[in-house]
Symmetry: C2
Subunit: 277 residues, 2 copies
């Protein structure tokens, strides 16, 4: 398949998925409210030089979501020299094209974990897919954890992907060395998937749909369960760790901020409120 | 003067100043409460290998302070190889000794700015003083700003220090490039003060006392002024920026976390609560 067609297909998929996710999340809000909060949508452009941009959808202060951001962007450009060596295939001339979707959901109910999902297609002198899903509870739930990992395992199996490897990668990536803690209960993380574009694209689409199913299942199970202020306090402290990870270590955040991306979209991963003790 | 005596004097001064600051801050709390919150004191050791440690004093949930941390530490050790080139005089063998005090005060009243102060004496194959004071209001007050800078100017003048240079350094250091914002209204920042130990030590002591005077003046002026929830909201959003700066850019934070320092003391600079929109 020609590269231009791959780019179009990937870009279109991420856009379609974004709409789908926003619709499904809005339905969840409608479960709890007859006048649900709406997604605020903002289009942004990377530069005035026709280097692409994105659509940022955020819902705040909902009955289900304290804050959820669903971002899709497709950008291109030339990496600054100092970053080139850190990006696969960019060391020669720094040219890149990147499209992706990323979602971070911070729940109102502290019994429901925060959920993060991202998939992307990146083109430099190489081309590859990357992405993942991971879950950050603040109150332990072993059954939920097991079901979550089983679902991911199934999606990987169906697509002949190495679930174990992706799981390990996730645990390693979402780790806070200064706290000697993992961010949450893991999930999967993958990058540099280059071989067999169509197979990878199928996997990425399955993961997008899987993310919706996983989120709905996790959320609906506890959507009406009661919680205490003490549990909310635990959640706010856990969110502090989330912020520490995202600002101190996350590659995406650092990359975005250093390459002049849209600040609001990059930092939409930060929870609406957090605490430190 | 022998290096060992310099170390002892610096270490002793930072300890004395810590006690003084805690006493003065407690007096401020007593202004507003007959049963004031107390400082929680924690001693910590860097390692089991006699590499020093510190005393962390934190007061939370007060009538004046939402959270204030007053930390003093004196540590030594050997820098990891990859950090050595980033530290003056450490490239040869990585040996260091460092003593310092650092204070971050996040106020309950959003009309009163957050105040940060730090002074340190560092010994590698070189030896130098560094430090600074800076102020982060969330509601503009030009008179307060002018008085604050005038006081710093006076302290610098008295000690024949280049106020303008230090002020510029501060503005440059406390800058959030991704937001294109300064953290606050600046102050002074200095580092690598090597020449004339006694003169520098005098300056560092004057700055410590000056910090207490500045803080008291700023706080007492507004300690009883009313504030609205809207102003509190502005403060919480401003604190989000504070966190972004400290986790994304602050040299001290990065250095501390990467060199196995005491996590609680390093991150005591983070406000107790913050918001992102």
């Amino acid at each position: 398949m020609k590269l231009e067609i791959k780019k179009k297909l990937a870009d279109k998929w991420f856009s379609d998925l974004q709409i789908l996710i926003c619709e499904e999340f809005l339905k969840l809000e409608k479960n709890l409210s007859s006048k649900p909060k709406k997604f605020r949508k903002r289009l942004w452009q990377k530069t005035k030089k026709n280097e692409g941009g994105g659509l940022s959808c955020t819902l705040e202060g909902g009955k289900v979501f304290d804050k959820v951001g669903v971002n899709k962007s497709t950008v291109k450009g030339i990496f600054e020299k100092k970053f080139r060596k850190t990006i696969l295939g960019a060391s020669k001339n720094g040219k890149y094209w990147a499209s992706g979707i990323s979602v971070v959901a911070h729940m109102k109910n502290p019994k429901i974990p925060a959920i993060h999902f991202n998939t992307r297609f990146i083109v430099t002198s190489k081309e590859w897919f990357g992405g993942g899903i991971d879950v950050t509870p603040c109150i332990q739930d072993n059954k939920e954890k097991k079901e979550f990992h089983n679902k991911l395992k199934k999606i990987c199996l169906k697509n002949k992907k190495n679930y174990k490897k992706y799981k390990k990668w996730c645990d390693k990536y979402f780790y806070l060395p200064h706290r000697k803690e993992t961010r949450g209960i893991g999930g999967i993380f993958f990058d540099y998937e280059k071989k067999d574009w169509e197979k990878n694209f199928n996997f990425v689409r399955d993961l997008g749909i899987g993310f919706i199913e996983i989120s709905k299942k996790i959320i609906l199970k506890k959507i009406k369960s009661k919680w205490s202020l003490k549990e909310k306090e635990i959640q706010l402290l856990k969110r502090g760790r989330y912020i520490e990870f995202n600002l101190l270590y996350d590659r995406g955040t650092k990359f975005g901020l250093n390459s002049g991306g849209n600040v609001e979209s990059i930092l939409m991963s930060l929870p609406p409120t957090a605490k430190w003790r």
